[in-house]
């Protein structure tokens, strides 16, 4: 096979890899990045910063009631909070939405983690956490010591979520 054909094959493989990466929207920071000290107001208007949950493996899941893929993954998150909460996982759900829309849906889905709602505040937080275009759902996994370990644009699959959580939870018996 001559050189030009090999170059063509290599070029095709590179393009295909790039396409695959672009359609799989999970990213790990190249170097450890400290999560910004964002403020998000809960449904009672009480402000929280991400450092409120320092010491926990924090999964920040940005969502909205108008986002079907967001709603699809919530049962998975509810189950994960139930299963891994005692081991140190904390999920929070900032919503680009109105409280009046979120409250009934949260009840219907049995959401068992804190929610926040403020369109502008949540949009700002999401962009500071690397979501350039504001697409949803968008999840950010933050280690117990406040480092961003993974961002995911789009819904997360059960086996992927379990693997991420198991990988980044502090081993049982470890002290902070």
């Amino acid at each position: 096979m001559n050189k030009s054909i090999w170059l063509g094959v290599i070029g095709f493989v590179a393009a295909a890899t790039g396409f695959w990466l672009s359609t799989h929207l999970t990213r790990e920071p190249a170097a450890p990045v400290i999560a910004p000290a964002l403020t998000l107001n809960d449904l009672n208007g009480k402000p929280h910063t991400l450092t409120d949950w320092r010491g926990k493996l924090l999964l920040v899941n940005f969502w909205a009631t108008w986002c079907a893929p967001c709603i699809d993954e919530i049962p998975l998150l509810v189950q994960a909070q139930k299963e891994y909460g005692p081991r140190g996982l904390q999920i929070i759900g900032p919503a680009m939405d109105e409280i009046t829309s979120i409250t009934p849906m949260a009840a219907r889905l049995g959401i068992n983690y804190p929610l926040m709602a403020d369109f502008a505040q949540v949009d700002t937080a999401m962009r500071l956490l690397g979501n350039e275009h504001g697409g949803l759902p968008y999840s950010v996994l933050i280690s117990h010591d406040g480092l961003i370990v993974k961002t995911i644009l789009g819904g997360v699959k059960k086996d992927e979520l379990q693997r991420l959580i198991e990988t980044h939870l502090k081993p049982t018996g470890t002290t902070s």
Binding site: C67, P69, D72, M96, F119, G135, L136, G154
Partner: protein, 116 residues
């Protein structure tokens, strides 16, 4: 992942007499929800809009939202009647990417091109 402006390119609305048309170019792999479009007169705010017509979209059954109608890749044109000459129109729309990511609702106030 495209920005909302790139995924749903909103063209300057055009008015000819009392007929107004609003057009989008929807990028490949994206779709707009018919039921999440809204048109309002912005300048003058006293103008009224009526007879908003859109082509038939693709009807899909969404597990969470029931029966919805969407518009996929290509040119989408909405037509409506205006009660008086309009300088600016407020347009709201929302859509998603077929890979399973949704973009937030967009609201734009756009200048209307009034044809002589």
């Amino acid at each position: 992942m495209l920005s909302a402006d790139a995924a749903f390119q909103l063209m300057p609305p055009e008015a000819q007499g009392k007929n107004l048309s609003v057009q989008w170019e929807i990028a490949p792999g994206y779709y707009l929800y018919r039921g999440r479009m809204k048109f309002e007169a912005a300048e003058p705010a006293s103008a009224t809009l009526g007879n908003v017509t859109l082509p038939d979209g693709e009807k899909i059954h969404d597990e969470h939202f029931g029966e919805v109608e969407v518009y996929r890749t290509g040119t989408l044109t909405a037509q409506m009647r205006i009660s008086q000459p309009l300088q600016k129109l407020k347009v709201t729309y929302q859509g998603c990417a077929e890979i399973g990511v949704c973009l937030p609702p967009q609201t734009r106030i756009v200048e209307v091109f009034n044809q002589p």
